[in-house]
């Protein structure tokens, strides 16, 4: 364990070896950012406005540069990969869990994404158990919870005037061994357990997500998609703040003598996301696009990667300009499935 008042000194020490990324207050918004000094770090918080996925998958990044010489021959140059040893500090368990899916997308399958890999391999994740889930949180719908250890290297738990520090992975154990922290004593363990119980008690009732993929498989043609997406403004804010959303665009930018190819976040909520050059669009309306969002997160990804594309952090609900609630969409999926099943029985 470490006394809270000594955390700053420990972080200062670690900052000699690692770039520290932690929650910082920035003009009324809490966000994950590189810190210059441990005083900036905020740990007494619910959750950040945006997910920490930018640590591994920045909003825009240059993938390569090309130079134009003699107006004809283009020489292509790679860009240096970001291998700075990094400590991603103070993420919530829901966000730590989200890295599993991103790893499967960017590191798994047939091709390896070197930009993501460089950052991910050189980052140690230290998560902070969530002592105050919000009304919009639904991590417990995924057989998870505010003290989940999935996806992190080290878990911190609030023990009153200390944090209990627990190694979860081998890399976490290595780092911890080097810190020579005192073992947590009985009184603090009891206090930590109390705080955990209070956190769990705050979680409201929620329908488990498990099994929704089977329901969705039967609802492709359902009229519910037009219904649930009617108030959606297609602004894509939900996809930007979501820890799991990873769709991206690749565009070329022309500069004075050549240019660069840039990857940037994109959103399935945008009308032109799937539009062909011919003008044909397989997802021509917002209902089709909401169906894709829901199916991708709750049916296709479970089938392909055995993981849901949602961790229940609730950021999309809080940031949506019309407060579209994805939990209501899932509820509608369940009722539509029940209606469809009932219809089959009576038919």
């Amino acid at each position: 364990m470490i006394a809270k008042e000594r955390l700053g000194a420990m972080l200062s020490d670690l900052m000699r070896r690692y770039r520290l990324i932690a929650p910082v207050q920035h003009a009324g918004e809490l966000r994950f950012s590189e810190v210059a000094s441990p005083e900036e770090v905020v740990l007494d918080y619910r959750n950040t406005a945006k997910a920490p996925k930018a640590t591994f998958f920045p909003q825009t990044e240059c993938m390569m540069r090309f130079e134009q010489q003699l107006d004809r021959f283009n020489e292509l140059r790679g860009v240096p990969l970001d291998t700075t040893p990094t400590l991603l500090f103070g993420v919530r368990p829901c966000d730590a869990r989200s890295f599993l899916l991103l790893d499967k997308i960017f590191l798994g399958q047939q091709y390896l994404d070197p930009y993501y890999q460089a950052r991910r391999e050189n980052t140690l994740v230290v998560s902070l158990a969530c002592d105050h889930p919000r009304q919009t949180c639904f991590c417990h719908a995924f057989e998870s919870g505010p003290y989940d250890r999935t996806g992190t290297d080290i878990l911190l738990r609030d023990g009153g005037d200390v944090y209990l520090v627990e190694a979860v992975s081998e890399r976490g154990a290595e780092l911890l061994a080097g810190l020579a922290l005192p073992l947590a004593d009985g009184a603090h363990r009891v206090k930590a357990a109390e705080i955990e119980a209070q956190a769990l008690a705050r979680l409201g009732e929620v329908e488990p997500v498990k099994g929704i993929e089977a329901m969705l498989a039967l609802l492709f043609d359902s009229p519910i998609w037009a219904e649930v997406s009617e108030k959606c403004l297609a602004c894509g804010t939900c996809t930007y703040v979501c820890p799991e959303c990873h769709c991206f665009n690749i565009e070329d930018r022309l500069l004075a003598h050549g240019g660069e190819r840039v990857r940037g976040w994109d959103s399935c909520m945008y009308p032109t996301f799937t539009q062909h050059a011919s003008g044909h669009n397989p997802r021509p309306d917002q209902g089709a696009r909401w169906r894709q969002r829901t199916m991708h997160k709750f049916e296709y990804l479970p089938r392909n990667a055995a993981l849901y594309g949602c961790v229940g952090c609730g950021r999309c609900i809080l940031s949506c300009p019309v407060r579209l609630d994805i939990r209501h969409v899932l509820r509608r999926v369940r009722t539509a499935y029940a209606e469809k099943s009932a219809a089959k029985v009576t038919a």
């Binding site: 090309f66 021959f73 399958q109 047939q110 050059a277 990804l301």
Partner: protein
């Protein structure tokens, strides 16, 4: 990896980096000049190798199978996916047939022999050659969609394994004679006796002595046997929609019919989340799918 010039090891480890190609030859395929074929050669000869992103080379030459595609880069404008129109049996160049439609294709159409573009590939799956061995092959194409079918037909005829396939029937239709692509190849195939070559146009024009009629109707007339056969159908959605019932009528099962899907793509390697049909990515699990596989997927393409 530092800020280095392009070399083979760089793109083996980075599936987003294209290889540098030079345009050798540009040819108009259609009389309205909206479709051109580009023959490309590798600027760095050692690039012509099959690679996986884990850095493993299995052969020293760029090695692909009919049905695969590549992402072509016009530096400064972007990338777009194109089916490979040449067959791996054709050495010294890789051919792509490009229809002018958007930003990338318009810029590509303005390029000339000697200009450089980038290439990433080969990507995607391919026509099911193993499944096709020992069977009759029916190739049905419409308009611009004939590109990878050319790759397949040349491969079947030139790979030295012609005797491993049964009767080959090709039905290729376009609106007008001037819109039929690969005219030299079509003429050569017509002259051969190991392939039945059927060309058709929509409406009769003076001087046209071959068949007239839409591809689905002509297919019904030609009536290729479904017994021990595989059909590969590529064409505009409307052509496919009307040809499928004909195939069913002729006795073809869904497992015997293959097609190649198109979708808007960016990364081409199953990461950017854009080209999926249901839980399958057209760039990774496709673009070649059997009708049986498509029947399991939502009709979102």
């Amino acid at each position: 990896m530092s800020d280095t010039q392009l070399c083979t090891c760089v793109h083996a480890a980075n599936p987003y980096l294209p290889m540098n190609m030079v345009i050798q030859r540009v040819v108009d395929e259609t009389d309205d000049r909206t479709i051109k074929s580009f023959d490309l050669a590798f600027v760095h000869p050692e690039d012509g190798g099959e690679y996986s992103s884990r850095g493993e080379y299995s052969s020293p030459r760029f090695s692909y199978v009919p049905g695969q595609f590549c992402e072509l880069s016009i530096f400064g404008q972007g990338e777009a996916p194109f089916g490979i129109a040449s067959s791996p049996t054709e050495k010294g160049f890789v051919r792509f047939t490009v229809k002018k439609a958007g930003v990338v294709t318009s810029k590509l159409h303005s390029l000339k022999p000697g200009d450089n573009i980038g290439l990433r590939g080969p990507l995607g799956n391919h026509f099911p050659l193993e499944f096709m061995r020992g069977k009759n092959i029916v190739v049905i194409g419409g308009g611009f969609a004939f590109t990878t079918l050319r790759s397949l037909i040349v491969y079947l005829l030139e790979s030295g394994e012609r005797d491993q396939f049964g009767k080959i029937t090709v039905i290729y239709g376009a609106r007008t004679p001037g819109l039929l692509m690969y005219q030299q190849d079509l003429a050569a195939w017509e002259a051969r006796d190991d392939i039945e070559m059927v060309q058709t146009i929509d409406v009769a024009v003076p001087g046209w002595t071959r068949r007239v009629g839409f591809v689905p109707n002509v297919t019904e007339q030609v009536a290729p046997t479904a017994v021990n056969s595989v059909a590969i159908i590529c064409g505009p959605p409307i052509m496919i929609r009307f040809t499928l019932p004909v195939m069913t009528k002729l006795g073809f099962q869904k497992e015997q019919i293959y097609t190649s899907l198109e979708n808007r793509m960016k990364c081409g390697i199953g990461k950017c989340g854009r080209c999926n049909v249901g839980n399958k990515y057209v760039c990774l699990d496709g673009p070649v799918f059997s009708m049986a596989e498509l029947a399991e997927l939502p009709p979102e393409y």
